[in-house]
Symmetry: D2
Subunit: 143 residues, 4 copies
């Protein structure tokens, strides 16, 4: 987390003011310039298949989508209008039973009009991912 | 909607028993063999940017993700274990202010081990899409 | 094919002047406003696995990539600078042994700065696809 | 490059015996367990737009596609039948004028039935990419 980066307003905006982020209990782990990390704790009502106790893939999707948005927002000192262009997620394996999920996203390239973000999600071990993602955002789409 | 297809259990499973689907107010429009349609009505608390009154892109993502799962589930007479392999969404334009979003997904190809789904989402006019998507699912992943 | 659309220069540019298109023997089937179709005939030296006699997936990739570029070029009466943003291909099944491949692509949405294209490829029967694709292009990237 | 990994047959198969790889002048830089690197030198006849002297994006696509296949093939000591499931490429910027392109791909996850590969392509500086890609392959598709 960058010291010179005041993330309090962004953190509040990304967790409290977004209804499905709030409903899923997403919490912000860290945010820095062009990167961010968020987490969903395991909860019984987030399970997709009661037989396995594994968090639903839709919850992972929402977490990744939201963390990518956090990272691209965190690329700008002042909030700028952005529009998601595309999002692609590869699901490598299901999460472990009764495990929460953490996602980290970082902007790896910004041109004048497009920002590119990559994200990774894992349950227990950062080195054993459950999903990877790439997203592109249009910057200043109304400009 | 197929007459011979009893969708009541699937419909209940896809709307009431999934917490974020429930939180976003997703409703099932129709389901048939290998296809399904769901909708999110506009609500003030689903808006991403108060200045525009447009539904958040994360809500569109969740709707598409869920409708793709509905379509692949609807491809089987008896519930089968599936696992999402990948999901890709192109966001063509923002939804209109104060407009809800409808998504329709259909399975266009099933092999022995993989099911492929396409989806489209629109706000007012089915012919003027706001997003398109493709997803792949592994069938019987534990088999 | 549109009557009012003079495709001769574009056709020549897309087949003769592009070395790998030429090397693979790509031929133009048709071109119209915002759409185009190209084909690769089966040839022994394009086969990926001699045991099966099936055209290599890399040839299918190149054909789809090129046909998407044709479609987006065909969206403009006068040639405009474009830049590919992304390309995604789903391979549904291998082509049939000793079968050529046809691809059709069409632009389904153009905003001020982005053009979206979809493509389908098949071997024998247009209704039984071997691959689907989506691509996005930035229009006037230097503007 | 792994010492214990005999890459000579694979290298020959990936460069000489594949017609469009050969036509584009692809050369193998290195190959190891689950990873590989290939390169295309700049040539006037590979240029997309004579005004810029930049290598055509279709050449970059072909190089990435081929290098991903190399990496997944290199994951097995004995050649195994594989089938490409999907390929996604993000083009970050055009290559520099009169610059060749290098691509490195590595398999980052293999399950019983699916292999996942990531790739990066650059022109001059490995830290300043021109394209990133992800691909999935079905392993032993006929098994």
């Amino acid at each position: 987390m960058s010291d010179s980066y005041d993330n309090a307003p962004l953190a509040a905006r990304m967790t409290e003011h977004v209804p499905h982020a709030h409903a899923l209990g997403m919490t912000l782990i860290s945010v820095g310039e062009g990167r961010g990390s968020m987490r969903v704790e395991w909860r019984e009502d987030l399970v997709g298949d009661p037989d396995t106790g594994v968090i639903a893939s839709g919850v992972v999707t929402a977490l990744i989508d939201h963390t990518c948005g956090l990272a691209i927002n965190a690329a700008f000192a002042t909030p700028a209008p952005i529009a998601t262009l595309d999002l692609r997620i590869d699901y490598l394996r299901p999460a472990a039973p009764r495990a929460g999920v953490t996602c980290e996203a970082f902007g790896y390239k910004t041109t004048r009009s497009i920002g590119f973000v990559r994200a990774e999600a894992w349950d227990v071990d950062r080195g054993d991912l459950i999903a990877t993602a790439q997203a592109a955002f249009m910057l200043n789409p109304r400009g």
